[in-house]
Amino acid sequence: ACGAGGSSSGSSAGGASGSSSGEIEIGTVVVGIDGTYPPFNYMDDNGEPTGFEIEMIQEIGERAGLEIEFKAVPWDGVFGQIESGKIDTYACCIFPNEERQEKYLFSREYIYDENRFIVRTGDGSLYKTYKDLEGHKIGVAGGGNSILALENLQKDQNLDFEIVAYNNENYVNDLALGRLDIIYKSPVSAFVEAKSLGVGFEVAECPTVESASCALPWRKDDARSAKICELFSKATQEMLDDGAMKELSEKWLEMDLAAYEPLI
């Protein structure tokens, strides 16, 4: 799956803006998706994309009057695809951290997707503070910034735990098998996966180390991209304002994670 989450606080204004001229030919907006991150974006029984982000983007497209096309691209190849113009953006709960903002424009954040420490059912109360993490292996998706967040935590508080990074969802398997005691992951997706596996997970009591949100990246220095970004930001804000986002979030994520207050 893709790299969810991100690190600590951000600053500066994200979102749209930039140069815009009405003359730009936009055409179809090609949205890359990882396609392996239920319930955010994944493939249904017929191999068609589905999930929260899919429906959200479709609705944005309708509101902004843009034609949308989805294309499955694994995380490894994404940024080549964006930069070479094969796709316009990539939907996979990407957190627009500072470093990333240097490279890309981000349209308006749409949801919060906090990572939490997740453990097997019954173990939640064993981990009340960060101190309790010591002596354990913590599995985390390598594809995001969560791993940096954990490393910072380790350094800042001088904690003795081991971080194990994965390029896929195998850390969920390892938690189920008992090879890991803790994983650091979006509870929304972790619970979906636990259900499929037929095991029980719960969120550990200790707090998360970052608050994170999701946004779509767009090429910089590209007038068309900037224009789309602006249109997307506008439509996203509308959906947040009129409750459409809340509705979608509750439908797919079983709670309201809509990002009313931007984090960055």
Partner: protein
């Protein structure tokens, strides 16, 4: 994580529906690899000036570096510099890079097979008045083929499986589809099982071709 065979069976047609992509990529890149590596092998065998060091550098480069990075640099990197690459279909690019990558291995294997043919065979050919190329074609290659067949079959099976790298460029094929299916319901076992079976069958076909060719090129008798 108990494997749900029924689920695997249900998903098989979906994953299988991408077999033409995998086959197309594999067959095209195998053909290109065969031609290209033969060319390079001959260049190196006869130590043709100028071309030989270029060939050697190419082998070092493409044999020594990860396929993923090659895909990345050629498809995205060169697209920056050479407009032609910008127009290129991802599947074409995948075939190109796969063939370039595989040729670097295959040419080394071909060289080793050629060198296993005793020098006397070449001399006998030259002595009856054949040119170097005629000796290569009528005498050396057929004999080297016997040694090369299992090795080339290995290369081709590796290529078949490497074709899944095309997914990185956004080309959906069997392995890519399997990972999509696997993630959808967190049913990796079932999806991978499907891929496992499909690749196994495809490789088996190459394996059978290998057996046939080995028989065909084996020289009968005790001293062979």
């Amino acid at each position: 994580m108990n494997i749900d065979l029924l689920y695997a069976l249900k998903k098989l047609p979906l994953i299988l529906s991408y077999i033409h992509v995998t086959l197309w990529i594999s067959i095209c890149s195998m053909a290109a690899t065969l031609v290209f590596s033969l060319l390079i092998t001959i260049i190196r065998y006869y130590k043709i000036r100028v071309l030989t060091p270029i060939a050697n550098a190419y082998i070092d480069l493409f044999r020594g570096t990860p396929l993923l990075t090659q895909m990345f640099f050629i498809y995205y990197g060169l697209a920056q510099i050479i407009p032609l690459f910008r127009e290129m279909q991802p599947i074409t690019a995948a075939i190109l890079v796969l063939a370039l990558n595989a040729s670097a291995y295959t040419t080394e294997n071909m060289r080793s097979a050629l060198e296993s043919v005793p020098r006397g065979q070449t001399e006998a050919g030259l002595a009856v008045g054949m040119t170097d190329l005629q000796v290569m074609w009528h005498i050396i290659l057929p004999q080297a083929t016997k040694v090369a067949v299992p090795v080339l079959a290995n290369d081709f099976i590796a290529l078949l499986k490497n074709s899944s790298m095309a997914f990185t460029l956004g080309v959906r094929e069997i392995m890519g589809e399997a990972s999509l299916v696997g993630n959808a319901g967190f049913r990796f076992f079932e999806a991978y099982l499907d891929a496992f079976v499909i690749y196994f069958c495809l490789s088996k076909v190459i394996g059978l071709g290998q057996k046939y060719l080995e028989k065909r090129f084996s020289i009968q008798g005790r001293k062979a």
